[in-house]
């Protein structure tokens, strides 16, 4: 594989992770990580929307007038988000019902706009598409990690299945109410960033 493509694929997952390094998409990371299922669905939708919008805008990049480029990007992203929502509603209604709360959040997700501005407008369609997809996956990875801990300690379940046995509750164990609330997502994100930086020495500030 060509080194540049490899770089495009690996960079967003680790070295340039949209959440822990670029600090984009924090608002939705707080909102959708109470339960693992929502986080996974959100991660997939963001991946699809980011990938497709990077592809479309990369194809259009030479024709877009610079002064209205942000609006053009917004229109394309909004269209894709609505299309994803409508198609899910027609073909996968139960998932759409799960997602409908978050779907609006994709439009405002800084990762989509951020990657279009930073990458898609200056690169060919194929690398742009990959960049979009893998940035979505990098974002999804963090979302799933945060949601894993929040659902496990906040509700005692994973994907709706009970993990912490009833006997623990009988013995006096209680779900942590703070984990359900958004501040805990920020604290968890802080911990993830800390762990990430202690491994990735070049990210540490002098």
């Amino acid at each position: 594989m060509d080194a540049k493509i490899k770089e495009t694929i690996l960079n967003p997952i680790l070295k340039g992770n949209p959440i822990t390094v670029l600090v984009l998409g924090i608002c939705s990371a707080l909102a959708v990580t109470v339960e693992l299922k929502g986080a996974i669905v959100m991660a997939l939708s963001v991946t699809i929307v980011t990938g497709l919008s990077c592809l479309v805008l990369s194809l259009l990049r030479k024709t877009i007038p610079m002064r209205v480029r942000i609006i053009v990007q917004l229109v394309v992203v909004a269209m894709l988000v609505i299309l994803v929502d409508q198609i899910l509603k027609a073909y996968s209604y139960p998932i759409e019902k799960q997602l409908s709360v978050y779907i609006g959040l994709i439009i405002t997700n800084c990762i989509v706009m951020g990657r279009i501005e930073a990458f898609a407008l200056g690169n060919k369609p194929w690398p742009s598409f990959l960049d979009g997809i893998f940035n979505g996956l990098g974002y999804g990875l963090i979302l799933v990690i945060v949601a894993f801990f929040r659902e496990l300690f906040g509700s005692g379940t994973l994907l709706g299945f009970r993990i912490i046995p009833e006997s623990f509750y009988a013995a006096g164990y209680m779900d942590n109410g703070l984990v359900i609330l958004p501040p805990m997502a920020l604290i968890l994100l802080g911990c993830i960033i800390w762990v990430h930086r202690s491994f990735q020495k070049d990210l540490q500030e002098k």
């Binding site: 877009i64 007038p65 610079m66 409508q86 198609i87 027609a90 209604y93 409908s100």
Partner: protein
């Protein structure tokens, strides 16, 4: 080409917007029938779940849900505030009809104007199960659901609730937590009380269930929705409830020799006394 001159910018923006609008309009139109069918099947599956005829998620497809509905439904109609029938809803498999617009009816209820409240009667194990909807405001958006009543039109056989945007893990439990819904089974709506039914902390009576910890506003909203809607059905329910048999009452005061399995109205009995 110079992409920065004004004319180009205006023409480009116009074309983009028109193209996007056309794509979205086409998608919305092409997908509408399928989406409507999904919504209808979803509504029906919620009713079937409330009536304990078919658990939600058990049916493989929309068609299976509609088949089950057509098979078990006995009557579907709407009633007005006085409990009188307004119009029948088709229960034919080919043209199943549901009363839509719970939101509009809820507004009418609040304003006190004319209402058309749907009543669905299912047959299950030779018994009549009456299912009615409830609708109200949760914390972030509307909450609604279906409550199924036994033949006495007081005892609740089951309930199913749904919501638009309650907090996952907290308010969303009205839908996701089977234990919350299981509480309703066997409870009785008390049409002589105010409210008829409520969701609160430390439920003690037959017409109360426990609220959800950490979701006070959702619980209150759902309780109010159930209370308001069941109160609106009061005329229909009291008029259609089977009259109590004299022998079933602890204070049976029938004179000797009178066959005691005749039916009495609760109110009549009081007057007699």
């Amino acid at each position: 080409m110079n992409t920065n001159n004004n004319l180009y910018t205006v023409v480009y923006s116009t074309i983009i917007v028109v193209v996007v609008a056309a794509i979205l309009a086409w998608a919305a139109m092409a997908l509408k029938p399928k989406q409507d069918a999904n919504i209808k099947a979803e509504t029906i599956s919620q009713m079937l779940d409330a009536a304990k005829i078919q658990a939600k998620g058990e049916a493989a497809s929309n068609d299976a849900v509609l088949d089950k509905y057509a098979e078990t439904i006995q009557a579907a109609f709407t009633v007005n505030a006085a409990g009188e029938k307004v119009k029948d809803l088709s229960t034919d498999r080919a043209s199943l009809e549901l009363a839509d617009g719970l939101k509009a009816q809820n507004t009418n209820l609040k304003k006190g104007s004319d209402v058309e409240l749907p009543v669905y009667i299912f047959g299950k194990d030779g018994k009549k199960v009456t299912v009615v909807p409830v609708y109200g405001a949760g914390l972030w958006g509307p909450v609604w659901g279906y409550v199924a009543f036994d033949e006495d039109l007081k005892t609740i056989l089951g309930a199913y609730f749904d919501h638009e945007s309650e907090t996952p893990g907290l308010g969303a439990k009205i839908k996701d937590d089977p234990e919350f819904r299981a509480q309703f089974v066997g409870k009785k709506a008390d049409f002589s009380a105010e409210p008829v039914f409520s969701v609160l902390k430390n439920a003690a009576q037959d017409n109360q269930v426990d609220a959800i910890t950490g979701a006070t506003m959702t619980s209150k909203g759902l309780g109010a929705a159930i209370g308001t809607w069941l109160a609106a059905y009061k005329p229909y329910f009291t008029a259609n409830a089977p009259k109590e048999k004299c022998c079933d009452r602890p204070d049976c005061q029938c004179a000797e020799g009178v066959p005691c399995n005749h039916e009495h109205d609760h109110e009549e009995m009081k007057e007699e006394e």
